[in-house]
């Protein structure tokens, strides 16, 4: 229950008390979608689909990447730097629970982005929607992709302890991923070698292959699914190891407990 409470607090802080986080998490992908599709024109790309039907995945990536690689690790790193993280742990709150709760809160943020982007794409640019079971499959793929990104964000905060370092590395990774996955330039124009390397990065599939589910060409992307599962397992293990290493005494609940109940209670004055 306490982690649900903490999750709501985190959401309130991101959405209502941190304007810059709110801008990058919610408004930025929407602005980009409006600017790019508005300026290029929502041209037809064949089979009744329009530019928005492909660009919507770029917009989703533009929201998910900063949220996962910048906002989440900074949120953990700030709490570590000011001592809040350690303070919570000293109150008996499990550090893994804190990190997981922050991940869940940021996961919700990406879903709020998702709903807003899809809704405005549909209202303003006539984005085509898909049948319900395809929509669920799309959500499953999208969720896995977000989980991978969030785990990378957690890893950044686990490996580096200073907010500025986390911020710089997070932003470097963000721009690198945006540039190499088609967020800034057209992915098809990138050199073959880069495309071969990027085939091992799950976010590439969100920006360039998820449309196949949206366009009802396929219901699953096996390459993406296997890659995402490998990433999730590896990143989870590394993150757990680092957290455990840093806070092992505080994580282990069942230590040899001193039998306090067997010792007779005595007033303070008698002890001296």
């Amino acid at each position: 229950m306490k982690y649900i409470r903490y999750c709501f607090i985190e959401l309130k802080i991101i959405l209502f008390r941190t304007p810059i986080a709110m801008f990058f998490s919610i408004l930025f992908p929407l602005f980009m979608m409006a600017i790019i599709v508005g300026s290029t024109g929502n041209i037809e790309i064949g089979e009744g689909y329009h530019f928005i039907d492909k660009y919507v995945f770029i917009a989703l990536g533009l929201g998910a990447i900063p949220t996962s690689l910048v906002s989440l690790p900074i949120s953990i790193a700030v709490e570590k730097e000011i001592g809040a993280f350690e303070r919570y742990v000293l109150f008996g709150i499990n550090p893994i629970g804190i990190v997981l709760t922050k991940m869940v809160a940021h996961f919700f943020i990406t879903f709020i982005q998702f709903i807003i982007v899809i809704f405005f794409g549909w209202i303003i640019f006539d984005l085509q929607l898909l049948p319900f079971h395809y929509f669920l499959l799309f959500l499953m793929h999208f969720s896995l992709c977000i989980i991978v990104l969030l785990l990378i964000g957690v890893l950044l905060a686990n490996l580096f302890h200073r907010v500025q370092v986390v911020q710089i590395i997070g932003m470097f990774l963000m721009f690198l991923l945006l540039a190499l996955t088609g967020g800034i330039t057209d992915y098809s124009t990138l050199p073959e070698t880069i495309k071969n390397v990027m085939a091992y990065v799950p976010i590439t599939y969100l920006m360039n292959d998820f449309y196949k589910i949206w366009f009802l060409e396929t219901s699953i992307l096996p390459n993406f699914l296997s890659l995402a599962i490998i990433y999730i397992i590896l990143l989870t293990l590394i993150n757990l190891f680092v957290i455990y290493k840093n806070y092992k005494f505080l994580i282990i609940n069942k230590q040899k407990e001193f039998p306090f109940h067997l010792v007779p209670k005595h007033e303070f004055e008698q002890r001296r």
Binding site: R5, E79, A84, E86, R87, N253, Q255, V263, E267
Partner: protein, 286 residues
């Protein structure tokens, strides 16, 4: 069985020895109220961090207690400034803010009027009271306080200490402080650190006995000459001189002289600062 026991503990940061308890063992038992004293850089906070496994160390530390039974309050208690007090309380206490028991306890700690404030807008005293409330909420068996009154004004310090006196009954307490008078009435054991080394550790009464401190007189510098016959030295403290009496006999003899001369003086039965000074002097670590 000890709650904590440490043997040969050493902490090194970038080849600099921060805490060196080589060939020393420290046992902390149930019911101990331990004052941890020493100057800045003595290794007091490092000692606490070793106990809590929050810092890398060499040596052996045995902890016969789960972390859930320990309440820790540090000098600086970092909280996200954007969080509101009621949110923090409901999260840490895992309870609705409207819970009757919680409301009563908040009133006891005088934090009930702060609920809608953001943590960043709290004063130092309010933040310490809030943290103390959160530390005490689950009624832990062991309490660790690290310089919790440093930086507080006199009134707030007094009120925090009054809370402590009320709550430490039947608890094991470790209290790091710069203010010796804070632990004079609380502690039953003293752990004295100096530049990362353990100078001594033991029951207060036996330490006073061991270092032959029965009582102290504090006199004006000019009046010290009165006692020069009976003592070869005193130590300067601000604009005064403190003379240590090793026995009742010595105390009586000097008291007679002081009273005859009609000069003003302060008398203290067991002065922690004098004990600290004497230990430092005897160990030759000045």
């Amino acid at each position: 069985m000890d709650i904590f026991s440490l043997e040969n503990v050493r902490v090194r940061i970038k080849d600099k020895m921060i805490l060196d308890l080589k060939n020393r063992s420290i046992h902390i038992s149930k019911g101990d109220v331990i004052g941890i004293i020493g100057e800045n850089g003595a290794g007091k906070t490092t000692f606490i961090r070793v106990l809590l496994d929050l810092i890398k160390f060499e040596g052996k530390v045995e902890r016969n207690i789960s972390f859930q039974s320990i309440g820790v309050q540090m000098q600086k208690n970092g909280f996200s400034g954007l969080i509101k007090v009621y949110e923090l309380i409901s999260f840490i206490c895992n309870s609705s803010i409207k819970d009757k028991q919680l409301t009563e306890k908040m009133r006891d700690f005088q934090i009930d009027h702060l609920l809608n404030k953001r943590v960043e807008s709290l004063s130092g005293g309010e933040l310490q009271r809030l943290t103390l409330f959160l530390v005490m909420y689950h009624d832990p068996d062991v309490l660790i306080f690290d310089e919790i009154t440093t930086g507080l004004d006199y009134q707030t310090r007094k009120s925090v200490l009054n809370y402590l006196k009320k709550i430490i009954n039947n608890k094991t307490v470790l209290m790091v402080t710069h203010y010796y008078e804070e632990i004079e009435k609380l502690a039953n054991k003293l752990l004295i650190l100096h530049q990362g080394r353990l100078l001594d550790y033991g029951f207060i009464d036996s330490l006073f006995e061991k270092y032959e401190i029965f009582s102290t007189f504090t006199l004006k510098k000019d009046d010290f000459s009165l006692l020069e016959e009976t003592t070869d030295k005193g130590y300067a403290f601000e604009d005064k001189v403190v003379v240590i009496n090793r026995s009742k006999k010595e105390e009586d003899k000097r008291l007679q002289i002081i009273q005859k001369s009609n000069c003003t003086y302060d008398y203290k039965k067991k002065d922690f600062y004098s004990l600290y000074k004497k230990i430092i002097e005897q160990k030759g670590v000045i």
